[in-house]
Amino acid sequence: MNSQTSPAIELRGASKAFRTPSGALHTAVRDLDLTVGRGEFVAVVGPTGCGKSTTLTLVSGLEEPTEGEVLVAGEPVRGIGDKVGFVFQQDAVFPWRTVLSNVMAGPRFRGVPKAEAKERAREWLARVGLSSFEDRYPHQLSGGMRKRVALAATFVNDPEILLMDEPFSALDVQTRALMSDELLELWAGTGASVVFVTHDLEESIALADKVVVMTAGPATVKEVFEIDLPRPRKVEQVRMEPRFIEIYREIWSSLGEEVRITRERGAVNVA
């Protein structure tokens, strides 16, 4: 581990159960142990609906674990910390704010003076290539551009921990590859630790230092794979490398089993 002190994120035996509307107790994650080092990019893959997203809400402080502990920078999580950034699956930009105002929102919420917030927001808009769109409203942008606004709005807060919940799953394939590259570039400058949840194994290998495979729900860590592909990576190119395919096969043999279990359960439920 390359951290000076404690790891960026640590989950120790964390479980989370929800009450379903019918009153039954649904366990989303159970007995979860996961460590993310400082500056590490960790991708979490698992079958659909297994509770990957719940892991992120536990780390962010949006939800509390029913059991176990969640530590961020060695401190137990109590409420939403100011070190965390979160990119959601769906659009979470404010539709009534312009692009610039959306990116300014974070610093303004945190009490940064307007002029400084504007300056920082402009800087990040330039980095995601949206400088000429700062006066537009979100509905006037494409899906990829809205995602860029969301990225800029998250990065402008200088998060030490970046949580991403299938951020690119709503985008078309070409845009997704492009956004992945841009994410890697943006991240490289910040030294933030990333937890990236996805159901796309290719995406996870191309992006991450470490791929965590979750079991079928209730989710827990099944296996962790180190990805030893050299950086900087280009998503479209790295996919073609023999080592990539080797890793893919290795992880898929582990993940495929869980996917099958989930599928069979679904088939039972349908029947």
């Binding site: 100011d82 929102a105 998250t154």
Partner: protein, 288 residues
């Protein structure tokens, strides 16, 4: 290759011609709709006039457009029995507007508060339901007893009519805020207050505005009914007075004036809404 691409170089003059033809067709259609509307209006009014003159319907009870027009003309030129027509319109508008503003402010404040603070909603919820179940127009006579013949009693009945639809919409709007948006703003560092003012209220505005359109109509109803029951001035009193003298034309004339007033107010509200909702995507088919 498709035939379009083959003929592409020569296509531009053809295309402009076609565009022109299309624009012409669209324009023609607009005129046709407009002309049909006017024709329909004249047909209905003409039929009414003819039926009344031919004594198929009783002109005393049903009046006729020409008489109604004469009545409006008399009111405009000579004034009404209660004073000038403008004064009556102004009184009614003033009562409706004041009642509307009070009702809207109270409804929005309470709706947002209850939508955000669960405890308040749980405690007050049943009482608000009971009050809403009450046919509120029956409160108008009570207000007349409480507040007298002046504007206050009409304002009060307008307020109770306006409050509930606005309240329920604001409440619903505050409840149905996109959860992602709230989660995102909290992650970005927003406090509870900031969530309320910068996320919940803006996203509830479209709900609130929908109720504003409906509720201005209610405010007018409140004012008119209040005046009808007992007043010294106002369009409602005009209706009541005309009815008292069996002047059917007067009742219709007051109705026509009210319709014009309501339409103007509605137009103003739509204009304001358009300015406020620049961030919203233009809805297809919004240009009616």
């Amino acid at each position: 290759m498709s035939p379009e691409t083959v003929t592409a170089p020569a296509a531009s003059p053809v295309k402009t011609e076609r565009t022109q033809a299309r624009a012409r067709a669209a324009r023609n259609r607009k005129y046709l709709v407009l002309a049909s509307r006017v024709a329909l209006l004249f047909a209905v009014l003409g039929l009414w006039e003819w039926l009344a003159r031919a004594a198929v319907i009783d002109p005393f009870n049903f009046s006729m457009p020409s008489k109604i027009w004469d009545q409006i003309h008399t009111w405009v030129v000579d004034g009404t029995a209660q004073g000038s027509l403008w004064e009556q319109i102004w009184y009614t508008l003033y009562e409706a507007l004041l009642g509307w503003i009070i009702g809207v402010v109270a409804g929005v404040l309470l709706g947002i508060a209850l939508g955000r603070i669960r405890f308040l909603a749980d405690v007050l919820g049943p009482y608000i339901k009971v009050l809403n179940a009450l046919p509120r127009i029956v409160l108008a006579p009570i207000f007349l007893i409480w507040f007298g013949l002046g504007p206050a009693s009409k304002v009060a009945s307008a307020v109770v009519l306006v409050f509930f639809p606005v309240f329920f919409n604001a409440f619903q709007g505050a409840r149905e805020v996109d959860r992602n948006l709230v989660a995102n703003s909290r992650i970005l560092g927003a406090s509870n207050r900031q969530v309320t003012f910068q996320v919940v209220i803006p996203s509830a505005t479209s709900w609130i505005f929908t109720s504003l359109h409906v509720s201005f109509g209610f405010a007018l109803i409140g004012a008119i009914v209040g005046e009808y029951i007992g007043a010294t001035k106002g369009l409602g009193l005009l209706v009541a007075a005309s009815q008292g003298t069996f002047n059917a034309a007067g009742v219709y004339a007051a109705m026509a004036i009210l319709a014009v007033v309501a339409l103007l107010a509605e137009g103003l509200l739509t204009f304001l809404e358009k300015r406020l909702f620049r961030w919203k995507p233009a809805e297809s088919g919004a240009d009616r």
